[in-house]
């Protein structure tokens, strides 16, 4: 994270604190600003952006830190979402509290992570990608078909009327009065997600800088050499899957409680690919980059909803359906980014240097980071 703020902030800690304080104020005020400027639906998009930041950071552990290509990440998101949906809805008539189910759901997703990780330990690269892809589809198909003989998931119709998040018995979906300000459901969810996102960012940062993080980096770079360094690659790869899955399960539980409805349609391969795109577009393994990638990939497609009215205004009719444009533009953006910034939009300084080894600024940054690390 040494590159989050402009260079001079690191020389003057007061500037750094000022920058962080300004960021904090902005993050707190954001839903109100967005609500006033762009409408309530955009606050909802903001909520989803935060949700995807959590998911992308989870996948980043597997793909970015440990270098294991996982194309079935959405399975863990699905497990977390359905775990909450089944145990807190009229589906089985069970209504367990959100705050108990959220960590439990993350734990169950973690178990699924180990379940996927264990048989795939010997696989690498494309082979691993295929198996994880299959795993993602298996979970989705299970959800689609587990309505008989016992109706657990309600099949393709999905589960409806899922219990909301409750804080002190008040549903977070209803407007909440707080310090004389009435907060709509989208706003309260925003603050909840923001807190959890910050917690996830903190954990991801701590993991990356830890011994575990260094071992993951070594495995990503050269697995045989990593083993020769005394690293138990089997356990550490399992741990990467488990940690990634935990974040996925957490996101899933939040999604179910926020949305109030889950169905297998939300957990397709496309969703896995979108989350992977956030990681790759932003800058694999670089936490600020991944956050940026998640926000961009969530928010930018929403701008397309203005394309329809725009066409009507200019041409008098809708010439191209915005929904068709979505995938086209997304694909185009991917191709352009991979051609011109293959290391991602905001890569870590070390990775950026590979493509621009003469950039003296980055060389200095890296040296500073190194001396810090050695101290």
């Amino acid at each position: 994270m040494n590159d989050l703020l402009p260079e001079r902030c690191y020389r003057d800690p007061r500037l750094a604190w000022g920058a962080y304080a300004a960021l904090a104020v902005l993050l707190v005020a954001l839903p109100f600003l967005v609500d006033a400027g762009m409408g309530r639906s955009w606050v909802r998009i903001l909520d989803f952006a935060l949700l995807y930041v959590m998911l992308a950071l989870g996948l980043n552990i597997v793909v970015g830190f440990a270098g294991l290509l996982d194309l079935g990440y959405v399975a863990f998101y699905a497990v977390g979402a359905y775990f909450y949906a089944i145990l807190a809805s009229p589906q089985l008539g069970i209504h367990l509290p959100f705050w108990a189910l959220l960590p439990l759901g993350a734990g169950v997703a973690c178990l699924f992570g180990v379940l996927l990780g264990a048989p795939t330990l010997r696989l690498r690269g494309d082979y691993l990608a295929i198996v994880t892809l299959g795993f993602g589809e298996i979970i989705r198909i299970f959800l689609n078909n587990l309505n008989a003989p016992v109706n657990l998931t309600n099949g393709p119709q999905g589960i409806n009327m899922i219990d909301p998040v409750r804080i002190a018995d008040a549903s977070l979906r209803r407007p909440t009065e707080w310090l004389g300000v009435t907060l709509p459901g989208t706003h309260t969810h925003y603050y909840l997600f923001l807190l959890l996102t910050l917690a996830v960012i903190f954990m991801a940062l701590r993991l990356q800088g830890s011994r575990i993080g260094r071992a993951w980096a070594a495995i990503r770079e050269d697995e045989v050499a990593a083993e020769a360094m005394g690293i138990n690659t089997r356990n550490l790869k399992l741990l990467a899957f488990a940690m990634g899955a935990t974040f996925g399960g957490l996101g899933g539980g939040l999604f179910a409680a926020f949305q109030g409805f889950v169905s297998p349609e939300s957990f397709t391969l496309m969703e896995s690919i979108m989350i992977l795109c956030m990681v790759v577009l932003g800058g694999m393994g670089h936490i600020p980059g991944v956050i940026l990638g998640a926000i961009l990939v969530t928010v930018l497609p929403e701008l397309l909803r203005y394309i329809g009215p725009l066409q009507e205004g200019l041409l008098g009719r809708v010439l191209v359906d915005p929904a068709d444009l979505r995938m086209l533009l997304f694909g185009l953006a991917l191709v352009v980014v991979m051609l011109f910034r293959p290391q991602g939009l905001w890569p870590s300084p070390v990775r950026a240097r590979e493509l621009h080894p003469d950039n003296p600024d980055l060389i200095r940054q890296e040296q500073e980071a190194l001396y810090d690390a050695e101290r």
Partner: protein
């Protein structure tokens, strides 16, 4: 008693017997080399000793206990350190981070710092390039880094697999000078080398491997003088 004792070691790739039962021993402080033609089983032996390949038969004893079934990382922690063929530096980690990884399982901070100073003394070039990523180093520098990284684990037995592979003659010379230096400091070394003359010149003893069997073993000087070895491996 020897630090490393191998008896009847066999390694199979599918149905192919790459090693057909070899015996070898390396005593504490000794420098031993394995020479042989391509496909003789040199690298297979090294990989089996490090634990990267399972032994189909035979035993590997190290420091008095059997390590035959132990996984790679456990053997590394016991002090068997492999510098793999093709070097295996971490290309996107910096030189300093590579070296830090070498000491991954150690917790004695003071010892690690002392060893870091020691390897920088041994390889001043690496200290100059400490902030550079491993992938941007030249072949010779990468080989230095691989050896230095292995030393950071404070091994008792260093396995060097083809340290001269793909290097310019000048770089090969530098690497072998360093190997001699490390050996003089008392490190136990097992060396596999295509360049038999260089290997025998730094070693005390040598084994000649042919078709998965050891066909000859002797003091290095005797092997260098042997007409048969000279004809087959030294090109003279």
């Amino acid at each position: 008693m020897s630090l490393l004792e191998v008896q009847g070691l066999e390694v199979h790739y599918g149905g192919i017997r790459a090693l057909k039962g070899i015996d070898l021993a390396v005593a504490q402080g000794e420098v031993v080399c394995l020479i042989g033609a391509n496909g003789a089983g040199k690298t297979t032996t090294m990989r089996a000793l490090a634990g990267l390949l399972p032994a189909a038969a035979g035993t590997i004893r190290y420091a008095g206990s059997e390590v035959t079934g132990l996984p790679v990382h456990r053997r590394a922690r016991l002090g068997i350190s492999l510098v793999p063929e093709g070097r295996g530096v971490f290309p996107r980690l910096t030189v300093a981070e590579n070296l830090q990884m070498g000491a991954y399982f150690r917790t004695d901070m003071a010892g690690i710092a002392a060893d870091l100073a020691r390897v920088y003394g041994l390889f001043p070039r690496l200290e100059e390039r400490r902030a550079q990523t491993g992938g941007t180093l030249s072949g010779g520098e990468q080989q230095m880094l691989a050896i230095a990284r292995a030393l950071m684990s404070r091994p008792r037995l260093l396995l060097l697999d083809e340290p001269s592979m793909g290097l310019a003659p000048l770089a090969v010379q530098t690497i072998f000078e360093t190997i001699r230096l490390i050996a003089d400091q008392g490190m136990t070394l097992l060396l596999v080398e295509q360049n038999a003359r260089l290997a025998l010149e730094v070693s005390g003893r040598g084994y000649v491997l042919e078709g998965g069997l050891i066909v000859h073993q002797d003091a290095a000087a005797a092997l260098l003088a042997s007409p048969k070895v000279r004809a087959a491996y030294l090109g003279a």
